[in-house]
Assembly symmetry: C2
Homo-oligomer: 131 residues x 2
């Protein structure tokens, strides 16, 4: 079995600040600051407000991408951190986003991506908060 090419972390942030979740301009610095704190190199970014509410944001980085989709009415945001580089500090990025969104709870799943066996271990963790 060959090594995975990338590590993909799927995060669900609960009980976030609803005002922030509906504000693309407010979310942009939260996500960009988090990526940079995790030593990511920003290549391009798109943040889009949907009507009546909700934001989709994607930051393409030299290491792959970080994406967010929000549901302000539920205080909920789904975030993906996809990285082909072990130098990207995914824990740091997660913690920065969690603080930025003022989330009270996070659910985390970590998957391998690449030409590997289809049945992969999926690590789930709730009430995360890395030390």
């Amino acid at each position: 079995m060959s090594s995975p090419f990338a590590l993909h972390t799927l995060l669900e942030f609960h009980d976030c600040d609803p005002a922030l979740l509906k504000d693309a301009e407010g979310l942009r610095p939260v996500m960009l600051d988090a990526v940079r704190a995790g030593h990511g190199t920003v290549v391009a970014e798109v943040f889009h407000n949907f009507s009546p509410h909700g934001v989709s944001g994607v930051v393409v980085i030299a290491e792959s991408h970080v994406a967010i989709h929000t549901w302000p009415e539920n205080g909920f945001a789904a975030v993906d951190i996809f990285s082909c580089s072990s130098a990207l500090d995914q824990v740091k990025i997660e913690n920065c986003i969690r603080l930025g969104l003022r989330a009270s709870r996070v659910t985390r799943r970590t998957l391998h991506r690449g030409p590997i066996e289809p049945t992969l271990p999926v690590a789930s963790e709730e009430n995360g908060g890395h030390p």
Copy 2:
């Protein structure tokens, strides 16, 4: 248990055309045509060539996003289809990308996203090819 907010399909395409995988300009129409074939509404898109090779591409759509990362030297591409709308035809998008990349094999995992139980069913399928 509440319903998921989004359906997230993680695809691994194997034995693709390596020339296409290193060409951001060639990949762009493959991805955009696939999204449109699946009734997705394109909001923004970014395709980026990395040195010495490899492409990252993200299409932000009204229904969420579709992303691709490629490893031309391995004939491999990882694709995500993240959709908050059941109207998006993810099967159609997958099949279009598979044809466009000339992939001989695809591995598929489907996950729910949203404020749901952390331990979710993960559907894996190999040698996919929807009928």
